[in-house]
Subunit: 362 residues, 2 copies
């Protein structure tokens, strides 16, 4: 190994120019700057939900920076010169190109399938195409040119560890994990004495939550990750086989974000009680996903204080694999499971890996 000149030669089309997309563009331009012109990874297209920018050879660094700047200020690609309707993106899908989906959209599935049928590779940070009904999602789990490391645990090698165990001809008995940095942070803060509302507001201030924090609190994002882990382990669960406990009551689901935030202190007492119940039992309260071949459950759980999940702090993620070979003592991967930079790093790893594999397959 050591320091070698990278040969990353390949073309990428990027769907999504949010935080992860911009971090990815930044990482790509960083490695390209240290690479000979003919072995660079060329970004030949980018798109947001409004428009696309395409160039057969490569979008220039200037154009990519301008696009990133506009998106950072909350604008859309439509504001730029030379943009095309979103539907034009298919013209960039020639064999060998890698289509990268870092959106949170549930509508990219058909485009991703078109890409695969044209001999493109697909890299996903977007969980939704992988977490829909099995009939639609199956293609992404069975196709050799799909990668999705960043969908679970951001840049942590969770999916690659799972694939490694499969490559050792191991078989899974269960998978368990803390898969949300936001909910992990909240549990950890409540353990340190914060109320539910304080913990939530501080997670929000740190930028850990979605604009509407209920999107994190309702647990569906963790449920999607649980589904992706299950399916990767060879268990084709349907979404309705994942039992989800939300971290707020139903009657607060229909109000506005502001109203929700005004009401959250009414939840303090309940969550303080659940936290202290765990502490009285000598345990830690964690938001945990538990997965096996029969289904998955996502919700609060009392974990042993010294266990891999109970000893997590802050926004850390951890995934615990129990398998035929790792039965008495399981295999654990842990570390920061969120953040645009590590997520983008995982996406870049997938792109480079897929690029090498697709070149060999040709």
């Amino acid at each position: 190994m050591g320091k070698k000149e990278l040969d990353m030669k390949g073309s990428v089309v990027l769907l999504g120019v949010g935080q992860v997309g911009r971090s990815l563009l930044h990482l790509i331009s960083g490695v390209n700057a240290r690479t000979k012109a003919d072995s660079r990874l060329n970004v030949i297209g980018i798109a947001d939900s409004h428009a696309a920018l395409l160039d057969d050879d490569a979008l220039s660094q200037e154009i990519l920076s301008e696009a990133a700047g506009i998106k950072e200020k909350g604008g859309t690609l439509e504001q730029m010169e030379g943009t095309l309707p979103l539907s034009e993106i298919t013209s960039a899908l020639s064999p060998g190109t890698i289509l990268v989906d870092v959106t949170a959209s549930s509508d990219t599935g058909p485009l991703l399938e078109t890409a695969l049928s044209r001999g493109c590779g697909v890299v996903l940070a977007n969980k939704r195409p992988l977490a829909s009904e099995w009939e639609k999602a199956e293609v992404f789990f069975s196709h050799p040119h799909v990668r999705y490391e960043a969908t679970v645990g951001a840049g942590l090698p969770v999916i690659s560890t799972l694939r490694y165990l499969i490559s050792c001809n191991d078989s899974f008995s269960s998978i368990k994990g803390v898969l949300s940095g936001t909910l992990g942070y909240m549990c950890s803060e409540m353990e340190r004495g914060s109320s539910y509302s304080q913990a939530l507001l501080s997670a929000r201030d740190l930028g850990y939550t979605e604009p509407d924090p209920r999107e994190d609190l309702m647990g569906t994002d963790v449920a999607r990750k649980a589904l992706i882990l299950a399916r990767s382990a060879g268990w084709p669960l349907e979404p309705d086989k994942v039992d989800v406990e939300p971290m707020f009551p139903d009657f607060l689901s229909q109000v506005t974000v502001d109203e929700f935030l005004r009401e959250i202190n009414t939840l303090d007492e309940e969550y303080a009680m659940r936290t202290s119940e765990a502490q009285t039992a000598g345990k830690s309260l964690r938001y945990v996903a538990k997965i096996d071949r029969t289904g998955a459950a996502v919700g609060l759980s009392q974990e042993e204080k010294e266990s891999a999940l109970g000893s997590l702090s802050g926004a850390e993620n951890a995934v615990i694999f129990r398998t035929r070979f790792y039965n008495d003592v399981p295999l654990t991967v842990c570390g920061p499971g969120a953040g645009p930079l590590v997520t983008a790093a995982g996406v870049l790893g997938d792109i480079l890996d897929l690029n090498v594999h697709m070149r060999k397959d040709r």
Copy 2:
């Protein structure tokens, strides 16, 4: 993914029929039994330090079982009919064959190099060829057809996580780990109140130590792992750049095993003091490898009780990567880092992975 018919078609020559070698033969026969005849992994040769058994097509299950039985009883392959001198092994090294070294020999290097030059793949659980002077070892780190997952952390995906980080274009700042199940177990037992001599004898009873336990206690095996991690991270350290603290004093290095075991209770006081010093400081005493680009140190270290290393129990291993992307919060892999079955599983994973890659390269 899911359950697919495995196509593992390929040929393997196995050096070493000790515990790991026999577990590997067992795993291979298990998967072969579930595979169609023309996609099996054929063991076409096995060898111990005395003799070789070869068959152009495949050694039969009966012959492999007989060989395993003899080795298990402490015999050698020479006792079998049809064995050949060890030097004949080169005749089995045709392009595409995978040579697997699960010995603990420092003499296999030239044979491994011959294999590579003939277009074979090489899979190592033997650390020595990777831990010799850089000039000799370099070929094994730079050649695309070499795998060595099982040399560090047995079957834990330590090397593959390291490779994953490199594939994300990450760069390492430091690597730290508990890399010896034996010494991990001893530290853990001393923490629970056992004396040094009790902890050592109980590790010995559990089969965790080498016949001469000083081979574990002197730390050179951990030093080899540290060297392998450093070199894999791109730091071509020489063996003399690894500073090693042995877990017994120099004056006990020249006596017989029995004399050594009679003398060990003279060490109880010193190690009880070091353990209680750590506890007084609110920490855990661990046998730790610390690696960066300038060198490596292997020895006892006080670790925070709630840290990944401080909270290990029993014979568990853990490796902590600090990198450009995993800086504030590092990436940790932990689990059982020893045992013939998980080690053999890691070796099998390497064989299957290498098999796929070499087929694509042809």
